[in-house]
Amino acid sequence: MLEGLRFPYSAARTDHGEALLRAQLPLTLMLGSKTVQVVGLLDSGADVNVLPHSVGIELGAEWSEQAPQVRLSGNLASLEARGIIVSAAVGQLPTLRLAFAWTRSEDVPLILGQVNFFAEFDVCFFRSQGYFELRPKAPGGGT
């Protein structure tokens, strides 16, 4: 079985100076010959992965070539989005394919959700201790 990786929570400050901790994962996205380093917010409540528009552009994706249209919900419901699949690498773990709802908006975080980030990785959150652990799903695991 592949070894898991441990990542510290990252700290952010609100406008009121309060400290907030976020489970953010550094990863590398690849499309064709383009590579982009990003940080994704682990969101087990999100049904899908979400990609900000600028990251797709950095990867060389063409908006008009991406199909089909994807309908988002919540705060994202008003945003136009399309499906896109890119290769992704976390640390030294094997590269895998991640599907994203690529939005027209810049004002959204890169979200890692159930389809298909959490289908590919098992994640344990140790929020009280300030870290989370991640390991690839076991071979033969479901989606």
Binding site: R6, P8, Y9, A11, T14, D15, H16, E18, A19, L20, L21, L41, D43, G45, A46, D47, V48, N49, V50, P68, Q69, V70, R71, L72, S73, G74, N75, L76, A81, G83, I85, R97, A99, F100, A101, V108, P109, I111, G113, Q114, V115, N116, R127, S128, Q129, G130, Y131, T143
Partner: protein, 74 residues
């Protein structure tokens, strides 16, 4: 010791000790969290938590991607 001096010292640590230092700071910050929700504040909730159509669409895309890559490898 200034923050700049401290950061210089932290950079000399090996990976494991850097992680320990990071975890300690994160715990310190967590303990400072007094009020998680401030009345009158605006909190963004980006999570697409009820996007089953989007999930179906992306799953179909993944299946298509898997099939086409398998065909290329064959």
């Amino acid at each position: 010791m200034s923050v700049e001096e401290l950061l210089g010292e932290l950079r000399k640590l090996d990976r494991a000790d850097k992680l320990r230092a990071m975890e300690l700071l994160v715990l310190e910050l967590a303990s400072e969290e007094q009020a998680l929700l401030t009345p009158g504040s605006h909190y963004e909730v980006w999570s697409p938590y009820d996007a089953s159509d989007a999930a179906k669409t992306l799953n179909r895309l993944l299946e298509t991607d898997k099939s086409s890559r398998a065909a290329q490898d064959a």
